[in-house]
């Protein structure tokens, strides 16, 4: 695999016009297809121009560069800009260096203090200064050590406080949890209310208006499962059912029902959303649907819906 450095060299050779037509085409196609590569090629061009204006190219490279770059006005302006940029960056570098050179060493003002004194006084002065510096340094070191000890003690105290606070919080949480558990234990066990209510309509009983079945729909119930037990004579390929209120208002019609086997015998069953049934008296008509589509009333069932 070609490394970035190899790519860079190849780009420079391309920019200097030293590659075969095939290689040139390959580089150009890649540059037009890959924005990152195009950027790298443009950066390589900028660096090559800089190298030229800084005189870093070999004589042959310089010749190739001039043949290739100084022909178009656009590229010439790039070269001129690079020259100006070098000048500006050099100025900036010089300014930085000058700033560093101009900054006097920290000890310089002190040495100026003794200038003009006689040698004995100069010696005494320097000695006194050294003693002062040593004393100040010792005090500084001692002061720093004390401060660091105080800071360590302070940190320790803060850690202890934090730990104490944590323990207090844990204790409160534990107490709350225990109280809640005790309260829960005292409550009677809750029985989850069923989501489906059931109504089984038996032949003979429910078919007579006197034997009224009850469908109790608790607030939690969402569906009412109605199961009608068939008599042996009620033999049809399909069944339908109509539920009406006592006043004859249609509440629900279910068609295309099929018999199925259950523990109670052959049954037809279906589910009704509880919100379709208000509290009150209902009449359910069960119909047998023959193969030719003709329907035959099989029986009428009466039930009461209660919503506690």
């Amino acid at each position: 695999m070609r490394s970035e450095r190899d790519d860079e060299k190849l780009m420079v050779q391309y920019l200097l016009g030293n590659l075969s037509e095939e290689e040139q085409v390959r580089i150009e196609d890649r540059a037009f297809a890959d924005a990152k590569y195009l950027g790298a090629l443009e950066a390589a061009e900028a660096d090559l121009i800089d190298a030229y204006v800084r005189g870093e190219l070999s004589p042959s490279e310089r010749l190739e560069f001039e043949r290739r770059f100084l022909t178009s006005s656009h590229r010439r302006s790039k070269v001129e800009f690079a020259r100006d940029l070098v000048r500006v960056t050099n100025e900036s570098k010089a300014a930085q260096n000058a700033l560093l050179e101009r900054r006097p060493p920290a000890w310089l003002p002190l040495s100026n203090l003794f200038r003009g004194w006689n040698p004995a006084l100069q010696f005494a002065g320097i000695l006194a200064l050294l003693i002062s510096v040593a004393g100040a340094s010792w005090l500084l070191v001692e002061n720093r050590a004390i401060r660091s000890r105080v800071a360590a003690l302070e940190t320790e105290r803060r850690n202890l406080e934090t730990r104490q606070e944590q323990l207090r919080r844990q204790l409160t949480e534990e107490q709350d949890r225990t109280g809640k558990v005790a309260a829960d234990l005292q409550k009677p066990p809750s029985v989850s209310a069923p989501l489906v209510a059931s109504l089984v309509l038996l032949p003979g009983l429910s078919r007579a208006e006197t034997g009224r079945a009850q469908l109790v729909l608790k607030p939690s119930a969402q569906l009412a499962h109605i199961e009608i037990v068939l008599e042996p004579r009620d033999d049809y390929p399909r069944y339908s059912s109509e539920i009406r209120t006592r006043s004859g208002e249609e509440a629900l019609i279910r068609g295309n029902l099929r018999r199925r086997r259950s523990a109670a015998g052959d049954v037809v069953s279906f589910d009704v959303p509880t919100n379709a049934l208000d509290a009150g008296e209902y009449e359910l008509t069960l119909k047998g649907v023959a193969g030719d589509g003709r329907a035959q009333d099989l029986g009428y069932y009466y039930f009461r819906v209660q919503k506690p």
Partner: protein, 198 residues
């Protein structure tokens, strides 16, 4: 200089509005998208001619586009205008090289290394003034980057760039692209300043 449009040899075909509309319609049915793509194609063509050392890359790019538009006008089916134009551009480069080779020159007129003609001192100073002004307009980060990224020679430059990579906390490639874009912005600003002042 080689004439890109071959005016001396044959009647010049110029781009008509109809041919240009046809070119744009082939690039994209949406005129706005087509215009954007047309500009990108032309930019790439200029780049290619410049990379190949052509003296007038803009003129050559226009010639490549004109030839492509003419083909479309003649009823040729072109699937990818960009690739087609690049193909024409390469043919033009070959024509350019052949024409150059054919040119008979006396020995004293043989190609010499070219140098940028010396410009009056005032122009150079004006350019520097514009550049300094444009540098001041950059954000402190960008100014710092461009002044340090292109500072120094060879090893010193490499060291400097490594330091900048650490300082900005980005990979070397990313920093290089960032420096290049700042450089391009700076040059554009300096050129505009010079035009206004000139």
């Amino acid at each position: 200089m080689v004439d890109p449009v071959g005016e001396t040899r044959r009647q010049k075909w110029s781009l008509t509005q109809q041919a240009f509309d046809g070119l744009l319609a082939t690039i994209s049915p949406d005129r706005s998208t087509a215009a954007d793509r047309y500009l990108a194609i032309r930019r790439n063509l200029v780049r290619l001619f410049e990379w190949r050392g052509c003296a007038t890359p803009d003129e050559y790019a226009d010639e490549a586009i004109n030839r492509c538009a003419k083909k479309i006008g003649d009823g040729e089916e072109i699937r990818d205008v960009s690739t087609y134009c690049i193909g024409i551009a390469r043919m033009l480069v070959l024509e350019m090289s052949r024409e150059r080779g054919k040119e008979a020159r006396p020995l004293d007129k043989a190609p010499e290394p070219q140098i940028i003609p010396a410009e009056p001192e005032g122009d150079a100073e004006l350019r520097m003034e514009c550049l300094r002004r444009c540098l001041d307009e950059l954000s402190p980060d960008n100014r710092n980057l461009i002044l340090h990224y292109y500072q120094g020679e060879k090893d010193e430059k490499i060291k400097k760039r490594k330091e900048l990579t650490r300082m900005f906390g980005v990979p070397a490639g990313t920093l290089r692209m960032r420096a290049l874009r700042v450089r391009e912005t700076l040059q554009l600003c300096a050129d505009n300043c010079l035009q206004r002042r000139g």
